[in-house]
Symmetry: C3
Subunit: 366 residues, 3 copies
């Protein structure tokens, strides 16, 4: 878990308002904000069963005083029980947990180098979690490679599996399910050790994979309630990660269809979407300032954002340059410059805003 | 504490909507739901004082986006301090805790075999808890019988007392009190070991008891706020439990008056209520599937439901057949079939809906 | 952390309604209320870094059913990380924490003798906390005096510093920041051991200090949202405390300007404010009833209350006589009589209500 303060933020530039669906402090007037304050309770009930509860003490509750919200209530993120089978190679996960769609979606925010997740894959699962049942399988050979990377201090995508198959409600994290259809998700992520390719590749690992999703969802309407008809959603996502040793590359791309506001009919329809990101990063383990990871990322997305009212269309182009320091083991400081060109997630506002942003994020790891 | 996922649920059948005041997923479109995710903090401050805090991470907050609710906020269930006196035979409990009215109301959900509590006694204390002061007394002879049953693995009603006397706000769990009057409650529950009656009764225990309540309450109105006048409520409840060894019986019945919507005057009045349940169950401790408890229950209720807006009248007839498995010590699976005939808890909808329901509930104990 | 039940409370007397901005149960119909149920998670991540999370399980959420609120949700109070420097004499605190303005504001409620904080200094920081960065410095000589007082069982203002300098969002605890300006705060609190003044002063300590604040704030409006213009706020507060050995005195006084509703223009303006309190108390460590602290306090305040809708003017005169018992180490009982003359914190109600109040508060310490 982590606690993060996003520091000084520039005011909007350009015509429309500069906003991000990931970071509510972008473009808002304000200085400090708490993005996450996570509390985790976990325990093994036996060799075969473990429980995991995670909540966030930085969730806002709307409509509290004169329509104003109040910050910092405690809301569930994860609440699942794992049942381990086949000598722990297979686990069944029951409850609210991450949906296995998108490598960066599965990676925890404390491990991610960039400040926000990229729009494209995250548009499939805003908040990353849903309520359901999912099975994860990891062969011993894959686990061995991940264990080696973990000991080496690499930032993995976390304790999921090489293969995942799940069914979820599909309406989104902490929302009331509105239809009988289930979201079906399949995922594979496979690491390959490149040592065999010669000296130059000693210790290098590349991980590639793909995910697919079928869902029907009813976005919330500005006129109140949810869309009376469920909208079809289907997506594919590909990812490839070369772990930084010392130079790394990471890329994901999504294609599909999903709910998007159609201004001509003034209603939500299932429309095409696509996008992704490419990221280059380096890992300097012994600088005078402690561990240090410079990175550069370009991202692109065209498609709806189903978690916002009326599922507005996003049109994102963004370049981010940043560096993550670790002066103390418990403390991570990220400084990032971004040039954003974004449509606001509000179907009533047309056009795209362009802005330069400087962000500082302090994160405590424990 | 426990976490429960209610599994596949049938769609409504019959004319009106099939809903239950206990399980919001009955009749709703949706597949998975988290009914409880409880977190407990407790500790003895000394020999004489202990604290208990319990919250639920599955509480919804309404009116969040386009009038839609958000799920899974953390809300208090219990928050009390116990002061032990007379060699721990007497305890004074200060704070929010269970109201000693109804044997099944006091029994924790993780110990209950049936999926929901029965309507009649629960209509006295929806949510089972209130803010106040209550004294519990247990003579040594009674404690000895309960200790013996506990060691035997029987599902008791919990760590309350043989005799309880309390005063509470009386407006209901987590609601703001609206009047100066106090809810007064008295309870007795006495176990009798039947060993003396001969061979056939060796190890058998029957527990009988009664509760009484006096209260004035102001239900919430559809037009906003609460009823300007407090409505008189008075109830008596009787219970009898033959602990399953291996066959058991359990029954409760309530009579009284309480708030109920009167369609002729279009207002809430104090009207008669009555109802209860009879349950038969068996306890198979060593089946090939682990411990196993089949049960059958019939329930009946006619009267108001004060916790719902405008205190609508319920007219419930229900038969439930089910079985609880315990394949692992930490995991309980309940499968239940119910034939429900229920009025919806909404004074704007007349008639009763009939439906057949199949429910699966997974529960993790820790 | 503590849990408190406020006991029997008188009904309003006088013309207007008798209300207190500190204790929502004053003047309300109702008997028992839970004022605080705090849960703390803290830990040292290393010699140099520690984390502190505190939430309250007694926070209400509004607009839940027919406009009625629901009680007892879990909301953040503190969430900060400390970075210790200069052999722990200097600490940098990042996150949501107490604003160093007002000695009694910094003192924890479990240490305060009086039931509520006084209006004047608390009007600067209702809820006492905000999001920001603050540096605290404590010289060794000052720390030695505080350590001596702590061992002696005195109720200090807590683990802050002799000198504090901070910047905060300035909109108030758990509120969304609305402007780019920062609240700037400076604090000094210095204890002087009086042993050198002769026999009569052996063991006596006096602590004096001052605080200053500059801020711009946008109070919430009854018409919805927040004031479009930020209102200037600037304040100075002085404090002096003679620790009770066995007789003590404590006083604070504030002057400044801040947001206040102007009935003539029907808008919020920056207007003068002033007020404070004088308290006398005694410390009887070995009475037959356990530790015992009788106290008397007089308070006065004229000025706006920025945390309430439309920043209404308060006009407070109050005398409180009380006594705090500690029959068990874990349990504190406070009985207090107050004669209040107060304007209600509602710009639509004119005049001042006068009332006599008897309050009982039970508090569990752990």
């Amino acid at each position: 878990a982590n606690e993060a303060l996003s520091g000084p933020i520039d005011a909007p530039t350009g015509l429309a308002r500069l906003r991000s669906v990931h970071d509510s402090s972008v473009g808002e007037r304000g200085t400090f904000s708490l993005r996450r304050a996570r509390i985790v309770i976990q325990g093994d009930l036996s060799d075969k069963v473990s429980l995991y509860l995670q909540g966030d003490l930085a969730s806002a509750v709307n409509a509290q005083s004169s329509g104003e919200r109040r910050e910092h209530f405690f809301q569930m993120r994860d609440a699942y029980a794992d049942l381990f089978l086949l000598d722990r190679r297979l686990k069944l996960r029951f409850g609210q947990s991450k949906v296995p769609f998108g490598w960066e979606n599965l990676q925890s925010s404390s491990n991610r180098i960039a400040i926000d997740r990229a729009d494209a894959a995250n548009s499939a699962v805003p908040g990353e979690r849903d309520l359901g049942v999912v099975a994860y399988f990891t062969p011993r050979s894959v686990q061995a490679i991940w264990d080696r990377l973990g000991r080496d201090g690499q930032k993995l995508f976390g304790n999921y599996g090489a293969i995942g198959l799940g069914v979820f409600n599909g309406q989104g994290i902490n929302r009331t399910e509105k239809n009988d259809s289930l979201m079906q998700v399949a995922m594979v992520s496979w690491p390959f050790a490149l040592d065999g390719l010669g000296e130059a590749f000693a210790g290098q690992v590349i991980e590639i994979g793909a995910q697919g999703m079928l869902n029907r969802v009813q976005p919330e309407l500005r006129s109140g309630g949810v869309n009376p008809v469920s909208i079809a959603e289907r997506r594919v996502n590909l990812h490839a990660v070369l772990y930084p040793a010392p130079f790394g590359l990471q890329a994901e791309w999504s294609w599909g269809r999903g709910p998007e506001w159609d201004p001509s009919t003034q209603s939500i329809a299932s429309r095409p979407l696509s996008g992704g990101y490419i990221q280059a990063m380096a890992r300097v383990t012994n600088s005078p300032l402690g561990a240090l990871m410079p990175y550069a990322r370009w991202q692109h997305y065209r498609g709806g954002w189903k978690a916002a009212i009326n599922a507005p269309r996003l049109e994102t182009n963004e370049i981010e340059l940043g560096v993550e320091f670790q002066p103390l083991k418990e403390l991570e400081l990220t400084l990032a410059y971004a040039r954003m060109k974004r449509a606001e997630a509000d179907e009533r506002r047309a056009g795209r805003a362009v802005g330069d942003l400087l962000r500082a994020q302090l994160q405590w790891n424990y």
